[in-house]
């Protein structure tokens, strides 16, 4: 039992006896000491709905239950009911911050089914879009961490400098957040020399800011006092619970799908895998800063070494019906390994699309890591895992609050490709 019980002896009143005297019986009462503190689904520390039921003994956390399902939108079913090319845009809407990696993984799955190979220039541009996204994703989570620590000035400053990257993404893809840049066989718009120089100028402005913030996170006592030795994960915990991405790399586990798979143009671009061995919250945040700097280096390399050729694909010439088959692709999202499993049944719609997102591992399996820390540390540890709730809600809703019940069989029979 996780709940500690306080046992006290007490007398209970059972009623009057015939003689009129009070009859008192001795009994043992059990009163729980541990307090149940719900964090979420609506909470200032959380930016998306997630429920952490924290059981605390005094200030010390003794158990954490993680409840999800507040943000389920049935995206996987939506894939099955729409054709393959609509799915490219649906996959980008799974998550706002990491929309390009979702679209890229899905598009590479369709390319596997079709047997298409994008041009070298298109592959470089895809990596550029994804790395720009990685920079702004890592900046936003570090900004949120500063906000959680009560350091709102730093939050504002990081968000201000994040706009450089957002502008670069707007120049490249035509959308500030949602890129809609990927299409089987290539990308949807090209860069010319003017755009290239503008993006390079913006990246030049971003670099000193990233270096400054990285140094600040390492040295500022406001941050280090709250982050060092909080939420320590040993390498054993990581492999035991299957945590991925910067969380794993913050504990010295060398795992990075970009290095392992060398998909898109990652095989041709030189970059280092960032690994920190400390395993605490600060190490995870520093992994993100170092990766953002590494991504910046990659973006500059891509823009200066962009190969010639055709990058934009003519969408009118793509086949509507795809051959039957299966495709499995994976990608290193800003939060970790992201996989797509697509089954085509020889029609214009996929039979099944299974999405497995990094936050699913990192949040649902992380209940053990809060134990022994104080309640005030729980939001800090949670944010250091970079939770992306909209990504991870993949469960199927079986019943709703009304009397209407939906059976799994009905969902399966709804409409399938």
């Amino acid at each position: 039992m996780f709940q500690k019980m306080l046992r006290i002896k007490a007398f209970t009143h059972l009623g009057k006896m015939q003689s009129g005297e009070m009859h008192l019986t001795e009994a043992v009462l059990e009163i729980p000491i541990s307090l149940e503190v719900p964090i979420g689904p609506q909470h200032p520390a959380l930016h998306e709905p997630l429920m952490l039921k924290v059981y605390a003994d005094g200030e010390e956390v003794v158990k954490v239950e993680i409840n999800t399902g507040y943000n389920h939108r049935g995206v996987e079913k939506l894939f099955e009911m729409n054709n393959f090319y609509k799915g490219v845009f649906i996959s980008a809407r799974i998550c706002g911050i990491c929309n390009t990696v979702h679209a890229d993984t899905y598009v590479r799955g369709i390319e596997q089914l079709l047997g298409l190979e994008p041009s070298s220039r298109a592959r470089y541009l895809r990596v550029l879009a994804m790395e720009l996204e990685r920079i702004h994703s890592h900046m936003i989570i570090n900004a949120i961490m500063a906000e959680i620590l009560g350091y709102d000035t730093l939050f504002m400053l990081i968000m201000r400098d994040r706009e450089y990257v957002m502008k670069a993404k707007e120049i490249l893809t035509g959308g500030r957040v949602i890129a809609d840049y990927f299409m089987p066989g290539g990308v949807r718009r090209d860069v010319d020399d003017i755009k290239r120089n503008r993006i390079l100028d913006l990246l030049k402005k971003t670099r000193p800011r990233l270096e400054y913030y990285r140094k600040l996170f390492e040295t500022d006592p406001t941050i280090t006092n709250r982050l060092i030795d909080v939420g320590v994960l040993r390498p054993r915990d990581i492999t035991l619970h299957g945590l991925v991405g910067p969380v794993a790399r913050g504990s010295g586990i060398k795992t990075d799908a970009r290095v392992e798979d060398r998909y898109d143009a990652y095989g041709e671009i030189d970059f280092n895998m960032v690994v920190h061995v400390e395993g605490d919250s600060l190490a995870r945040m520093l992994v993100r800063w170092d990766e953002a700097l590494e991504s910046l280096k990659m973006c500059e390399y891509i823009l200066t070494h962009l190969p010639e050729g055709q990058a934009v694909v003519d969408e009118r010439k793509l086949p509507r019906v795809l051959p039957p088959g299966e495709a499995f692709t994976r990608c290193e999202a800003p939060r970790g390994e992201l996989t797509y499993y697509i089954i085509g049944s020889g029609r214009d719609r996929p039979y099944r699309v299974k999405v497995r997102t990094p936050s699913f591992h990192n949040i649902i399996n992380s209940g053990f890591s809060y134990l022994g820390y104080s309640i005030a540390d729980v939001p800090v540890i949670l944010v250091s895992y970079d939770p992306c709730i909209s990504c991870m809600e993949r469960a199927i809703l079986i019943k709703d609050g009304e009397k209407k019940y939906i059976r799994l069989r009905d969902i399966a029979n709804m409409k399938r490709g």
Partner: protein
């Protein structure tokens, strides 16, 4: 090392935020803003309505006084901007490149000035056909 120097520097700077109604937001020329069909090119093939991921495009009949030779079915696409996700799939899939793209992101409108059907029908009048 702390943030004091950075904060003091910012005290004497202008705010980075944009005073929106007075100053226009800097936006790219090829930003994916609102788009509408040019009826001088559109042949009413309905492909954009079929391919729209958010089902925002509805094919409507042309007004009765408008007869177009290149549009035998007399249909034209009307985009419901509140449900449009601005992915520009309709623009790239159109076989006759009939869509006009703008970088207009301000979709609130008092009159019917910025509705898709108004904008589309206006293209017809400007040509005088």
């Amino acid at each position: 090392m702390s943030l004091w120097r950075e904060i003091l520097k910012n005290v004497f700077k202008k705010p980075v935020t944009i005073e929106y109604p007075k100053v226009e937001t800097p936006i790219e020329i090829d930003f994916r803003g609102l788009q509408y069909a040019d009826l001088n090119k559109c042949n009413g093939c309905t492909l954009c309505a079929l391919e729209c991921p958010s089902k925002a495009i509805e094919m409507r009949k042309l007004p009765e006084n408008v007869k177009l030779k290149h549009n035998p079915r007399g249909l034209y696409p009307v985009i419901n901007y509140p449900s449009c996700v601005f992915c520009y799939r309709c623009v790239t899939i159109c076989p006759v490149n009939a869509y006009v793209t703008t970088n207009e992101y301000r979709l609130a409108t008092e009159t019917e000035k910025l509705l898709s059907d108004t904008l589309s029908l206006k293209t017809l009048k400007s040509e005088g056909s």
